[in-house]
């Protein structure tokens, strides 16, 4: 509850700051300190100190899982602000408003990670989506940005329509919005139809195949700073909402949806990895890589056991931190193609080394957080004892993903070129080193996150 109210309040404060504060440094400082306060308030709530006691009529449930996830999201956003806030100045003149919109998105993330009613799920997903349509189109003179925001809006509104129809059908069958699980037996056709519609709309939001086709265009067209935010924090928030929905509401129907989710997972892994191999631009490659990582996270939805819950939290931390780091480096470059990274290591050895750690983590090499999170996912699926072909397929696809991540490393270290001159400040470099350190440490001590789920 702390984080929910504070993010909304800070959204309004940032909106006011855009005309009360003239200096961009002051706006940035305000945003970073706001983020620290939100994070601190959320950690205090995990310790049991709640500032605001509001009776939500059991529509919102802040349990350990959602609070821990919120903390991971706020830490990722803080890192994102520290690394990339300076690059937002290049997008346009409305500097304060960008932070305001990001705080509103975080408010939606808090709602959709802790809903206990389908109404709150709908509101959370919409509060995430509407500011994102604006952020996608915020580079107003850029044709690609305009087009990306149009596509994102049309498909987002369509999937919202599907979700609402699903909620309406479930309401018709059960007469309630609270997600206490479907108990009526035999299961009526209304419930099955509503469940399918909700599944499809959530698959849209997490960009799982065959509903992924908007992702590359939108991620490619949006300003790179905001792609970094969309591809990481928003995507894992949609996954948490997906998991809560299918755990709480449709948990009793698991045998009915498990095969369908397994198929979606396999198709997502296949399309994401195979298409990423053929990309020429690193930004577009990262968009496809986010689809393939979504495939791995779908395995948690499939398995839906204790391992899956731990694994999804670990995965969201590993994926968010590594991708934010890569995007922060990518933003400094002018040429986004693979050749743009040629001889990068000679020019910026420190940045190249940290980028290598991020890429290794995404590929799932041992000693990084990415390896353990993939391991947890595979363990969760193997723990269900069914559909073992999915495990084998996922491992094969992880091998394919190594190819396109290592292409960047190869370009940085082994190719000759006239490396682009980029300027990186000292604090920027140290933040990246710290981030790489966190990723390696999480790869050795995953219990630092998982412990908080149970203590």
């Amino acid at each position: 509850m702390n984080a929910l109210l504070l993010t909304a309040v800070f959204g309004v404060i940032m909106m006011l700051s855009s005309f009360l504060l003239t200096s961009k440094t002051a706006i940035r400082g305000l945003a970073v300190s706001g983020m620290v306060i939100v994070l601190a308030a959320n950690v205090l709530e995990m310790m049991g100190i709640v500032f605001f006691k509001i009776d939500t009529k059991d529509m919102i449930a802040f349990d350990r899982f959602s609070l821990l996830f919120n903390s991971i999201v706020f830490i990722s956003t803080l890192v994102y602000f520290l690394l990339s806030a300076r690059d937002m100045e290049k997008v346009g003149i409305n500097y304060g408003e960008y932070f305001a919109l990001i705080f509103f998105v975080l408010c939606g993330v808090t709602l959709s990670s802790s809903f206990h009613s389908l109404l709150i799920l709908f509101l959370g997903i919409e509060i995430i989506s509407i500011p994102l349509y604006i952020l996608t189109g915020s580079d107003k003179r850029n044709l690609k940005s305009n087009e990306a925001s149009l596509k994102y809006f049309l498909l987002g509104a369509f999937s919202t329509g599907l979700m609402l129809m699903g909620i309406a059908l479930i309401y018709g069958a059960t007469g309630t919005f609270s997600t206490n699980g479907i108990t009526t037996s035999p299961t009526s056709a209304l419930v099955i139809a509503g469940m399918l519609l909700l599944m499809f709309s959530m698959a849209f939001k997490v960009s799982a195949a065959p509903f992924h086709f908007w992702t590359p265009d939108v991620y490619d067209g949006a300003p790179t700073v905001f792609t970094s935010f969309m591809a990481t924090i928003v995507k894992v928030a949609a996954f948490i909402a997906f998991m809560r929905l299918f755990n709480d509401e449709f948990g009793s129907l698991q045998s009915r949806w498990q095969l369908l989710i397994a198929l979606i997972t396999a198709i997502t892994l296949f399309i994401g990895n195979i298409t990423a191999v053929f990309q020429q631009s690193v930004k577009r490659m990262l968009a496809y890589s986010s689809i393939s990582q979504a495939g791995f996270m779908m395995m948690a939805i499939f398995a839906m056991n204790a391992d899956a819950r731990e694994g999804l939290l670990l995965y969201s931390a590993a994926y968010c931190l590594a991708t934010i780091g890569i995007f922060a480096v990518l933003m400094k470059l002018k040429d986004y193609s693979f050749d743009g990274f040629n001889a990068f290591a000679k020019q910026q050895p420190l940045l190249a080394a940290t980028t290598t750690i991020f890429l290794l983590s995404l590929a799932g090499i041992p000693l990084t957080a990415g390896f353990l999170s993939k391991f947890w996912m595979i363990k969760a699926v193997a723990g269900t004892g069914k559909y073992l072909w999915l495990v084998i397929f996922a491992v094969l696809m992880a091998v394919v993903s190594v190819y396109y991540y290592f292409r960047v490393i190869q370009a940085m270290y082994f190719k000759e070129g006239d490396g682009q001159t980029i300027e990186a400040s000292l604090p920027f470099k140290w933040t990246l080193v710290l981030l790489a350190g966190i990723i390696v440490l999480l790869g050795v001590f995953p219990n630092w996150i998982i412990y908080w789920l149970y203590f």
């Binding site: 109404l119 709908f122 509101l123 919409e126 509407i130 349509y133 604006i134 189109g137 107003k140 003179r141 044709l143 690609k144 305009n146 087009e147 990306a148 925001s149 149009l150 809006f153 049309l154 509104a157 369509f158 919202t160 329509g161 609402l164 129809m165 909620i167 309406a168 059908l169 309401y171 018709g172 007469g175 309630t176 919005f177 086709f213 265009d217 490619d220 067209g221």
Partner: protein, 104 residues
């Protein structure tokens, strides 16, 4: 009061839903596509009100949900119009076929 059977009203709302879906997929004018999205949302509104009135008349859950949908739809329409105006400034047209900088 309940002289109209529920199935009739559900038929209307389902028809509206699919008309909206058809419009969204076939029309290429952005304003028309926006109207199609509004049709989809409004068909869901009808569904909520009907389920509430005929099946669960003791509580007002469905009607409250409808109010939220109307609010969100208004916010969405405002953002959509802003996006369309922005695109019109650069393309001088509101046909989605002209917005093809990137290939699908």
């Amino acid at each position: 009061m309940s002289s109209v059977p529920m199935s009739h009203i559900l038929f209307v709302s389902t028809a509206l839903f699919f008309i909206g879906m058809y419009g969204l997929f076939t029309r290429r004018n952005m304003i028309t596509m926006l109207m199609a999205i509004e049709l989809i949302l409004n068909s869901v509104n009808i569904n909520f009100v009907v389920f509430n009135k005929y099946l669960y008349p003791d509580k007002l859950d469905g009607i409250f949900f409808t109010i939220f949908i109307i609010t969100i739809a208004a916010a969405e329409a405002a953002v959509a119009i802003a996006i369309i105006i922005n695109l019109y400034r650069s393309h001088r047209s509101i046909d989605v076929e002209n917005a093809s900088e990137m290939k699908w």
